[in-house]
Point group: C2
């Protein structure tokens, strides 16, 4: 399905026009943050290139004190290209976890380090859950709701598993929304 920065930007731009900077924020903060990454170093060149190819239009917004903001919008040609990408069935999910690798290496690392790693994982998961809880009732798009619900379920399962396996992690009240 060719899920690269190009496709990602085209996708976001079907919701609203945006600058490179805003796209980055959307990717690391919005519904997208749960299953993708992208840095400025890939976003800006992708936008320039797609503009040259006619998939996007640009408009320069002048701003006091700041450099011009380049607002991109998707064209019909861009929509066609995106549609073609989306037409291919999605590849299997890919999950990369240094944490789980460390857990496999239990025979090789100290108990202390393990505990630290587990604490960090636990904290990371809770942070993600908090992030979702905070945004969840503010979104209205069906897609976003679905994705946030999915992420929420999965993260919650991970937290529960961790807490069950490591009683050391105090369950703080639990019970909120089952």
């Amino acid at each position: 399905m060719a899920m690269n920065v190009r496709t990602l930007c085209l996708g976001i731009l079907t919701f609203r026009e945006a600058s490179g900077y805003e796209l980055k924020k959307e990717i690391e903060d919005g519904s997208f943050s749960h299953f993708i990454d992208a840095s400025y170093g890939s976003i800006y060149p992708a936008l320039t290139q797609m503009n040259a190819e006619g998939l996007l239009t640009v408009r320069s917004e002048e701003q006091a004190g700041r450099p011009d903001k380049k607002v991109y919008a998707i064209t019909d040609q861009g929509r066609t290209v995106l549609a073609k990408s989306l037409a291919v069935l999605p590849a299997k999910d890919k999950f990369k976890s240094e944490f789980l690798f460390e857990m496999l290496m239990q025979h090789f690392i100290s108990k202390d380090h393990m505990d630290e790693a587990i604490d960090k994982q636990h904290a990371d998961l809770l942070e993600d859950l908090a992030h979702i809880a905070q945004k969840r009732d503010r979104v209205c798009e069906v897609g976003s709701k679905f994705v946030m619900g999915y992420a929420d379920s999965v993260l919650r399962a991970a937290v529960n598993y961790l807490e069950a396996q490591c009683p050391r992690l105090k369950k703080p009240k639990a019970k909120a929304a089952e």
Copy 2:
């Protein structure tokens, strides 16, 4: 934490010595399969390089009809390097999902295609779960058990969410191990 093919190979080689071919199998079939990927094109050069650096030793096993099998073993120096990698706390998990991207694009794709994507995701998840169920009681390492349990929880949560959101996916009996 530098979780690349090198670290991964070193890690596996702390369990047992192995050839590049066997490492690949372990990565795509063993406990590692749930959170990492690697192709021959990255494994073989990594082994050659690490051997040259003194992190591994090689032994050629002659075989009838087949090319020699090169069996690699980790050295003390290799263990030191691995330990240094593992000493850094694991980075946050990274999850890449074309499926969730498609779900976000609901306003842009046909109902039919959505259904196909959901079916595929459902099937992928079930396949992974089956794979775990089949291997689970055969493993004995604590690390493997932990990781399989983690993967199982998360995958099951995803399946449950999907089935709850899309009643079209017939729950087949359910009830097996809650």
